[in-house]
Symmetry: D3
Subunit: 136 residues, 6 copies
């Protein structure tokens, strides 16, 4: 795993760290699960907690998506994959919808949008060598 | 991916969300990369930024590890895998060491410890169905 | 300023709170000022602090911009102002550039992009009645 | 907008960034709006979300007010405007009251106190040149 | 209180700051109090706020405990006090339990576990000179 | 330690949790220690870390002080101890000074101001029964 410092460690990407759409997806799965648990319970305290955990996790989804959109994806990627901007708007917007909703379908829709983003992510050269468990 | 609400959505795991050692590993890779970039640069501003990004990412590693240790792993798991407590102490402690150090070897050691934890994680039944990219 | 509860307080915008591009601009001005102060000083401690204040403020700019883009602006707005997506990508991306740079011109470019966004914001009907100091 | 580095960029105000009472007011308006929406709805999930958004926004109000009080306003200002300390105590305390209350009048009272602070803010020389939309 | 810089200010503990189990205990007492207040009230808004304050405070308990375990306590301490790992697991895990529960007994159990940790803390040489109000 | 729910658990103090000036003091001691360590080292990485730890800890001091001032202390306390407002302004302002300074004397001055506040805190009836290690 160790890669010695090379000229490739350019200034331009220091703040990027390591990108992986898994970060957004893990939180989105929590959003989905919280809505499911909300529906499956009749305990008021439990339901209440499901709501604010969902709120918090959806906020993290938004953050991770914004990082992918504006830090990982370059102007060139956006030309190569012209659907990117719209896809990200819909995904980040959907994270907001999933905050408001207790319908698991809204969480699922968020997960699906992140899967679409991930599919593009793994097609790029920049993603080569990234990811903890890159798709086989 | 959608799982309808069932009796399995017990109280006991609401706050857990979705567990995946990838969260800790992604941040640990950022710690490692920041140390590498620090070493590979002679630009003072760039090096400075590498230091505080490393600091911040190492803190996130600690958080994700604590969640795995005390929320995901149960008392039963700790009996089955008696090395767990020590492994977690060393990993969380190593995140602190990696904060202090600019030697990439310290970041690598952190990554390796998380890999050891992940190996145990994926052996448990509780991890079945978890993870964004579960190992094949 | 007090507006009694009416049917207009629909679900669809609860999480939105009150929007104002001033939030992003105030932080962007801090980014700009930090770069200027970095340049204008020869005190190592002072310069160091300027760097991490700039880092932190640029992160807040990104957050405020993401909220405007995906929570304030609707799908309809994006049709009416087709430059919006690109403008937001460039502004959020520029916040990242301003993190890396100590050139005040990068902070200024960020401020200018936010001004472009604000100009569109204030053209929308949704912005009517918003803002602490709406433009005269 | 660009102001070249000058002797005026003294150490004494680096951490201050750019001050604007609009930051506190925007969050206070969110507090007010959340209470109004809470009152105007009979949807339990919606009302719940209004409560924790109000909580979070009121906390931000407190933070922004503290910054104005102890970072923007100087010992000299406090002599010139001897009501400042009491005004700030009442405003920060009122943010706490607005957390506890679902009466929009408590949010409105918070907004009014911030307006009083803003009026003093804009009277100072230090505020000259500050603010995104300084009052005309 | 002022201690001039000496050889004791080694690298190895810079990030540690000042340790005191009081930090964890103060938050744990808030958790306990929130559960008590939840039980003692029949006001829905008040009860709701008690729940999310409890959530937030329990999270802070976990953080402070993790810092004590992996930053304050050394490998040597863990040999001298072999119960430490288990004690910390149970305390951090109990903070999670106290999040889920509205039974004050769960908050009390958390406080008691922190008291056990504090008793060991104050027995160590490293704790000498630490603490704001060290036990008499 | 367990106190059963009683009429004393009034609305008016839910959000207060448990107050203890120790929280501000622990962080202030970290600020002081960071300045001392900065002075005592000639390792650039170490010194850098001391600076941003000091920054972060000073911010926490400010937060804890604001909570004491506006949540713990009442309007009545402020009449009984008319020096309170000025003392808090000076302490919160001093936390800002200690951010900017690497002179341990600035950290010590912050600690001393918190000690003055603590002395008043423990004189109040409201503080009875509070605190983890109340003064003997």
């Amino acid at each position: 795993m160790f890669r010695p410092p090379t000229v490739a460690h350019a200034h331009c990407d220091l703040y990027c760290g390591v990108y992986d759409p898994a970060q957004a997806k893990i939180e989105a799965l929590s959003v989905l699960k919280s809505a499911e648990k909300y529906q499956g319970s009749d305990d008021a305290v439990f339901k209440d907690r499901a709501l604010f955990i969902k709120e918090e996790r959806a906020e993290l989804v938004k953050h991770h998506l914004m990082v992918l959109w504006a830090d990982f994806f370059t102007a060139d990627h956006r030309q190569e994959f012209p659907e990117l901007d719209d896809l990200f708007w819909r995904a980040i917007h959907q994270a907001g919808e999933a905050k408001k909703s207790v319908d698991p379908a809204d969480g699922q829709k968020l997960v699906d949008l992140i899967d679409e983003i991930a599919a593009i992510f793994w097609k790029t050269d920049k993603a080569k060598g990234m990811g903890v468990y890159p798709p086989g």
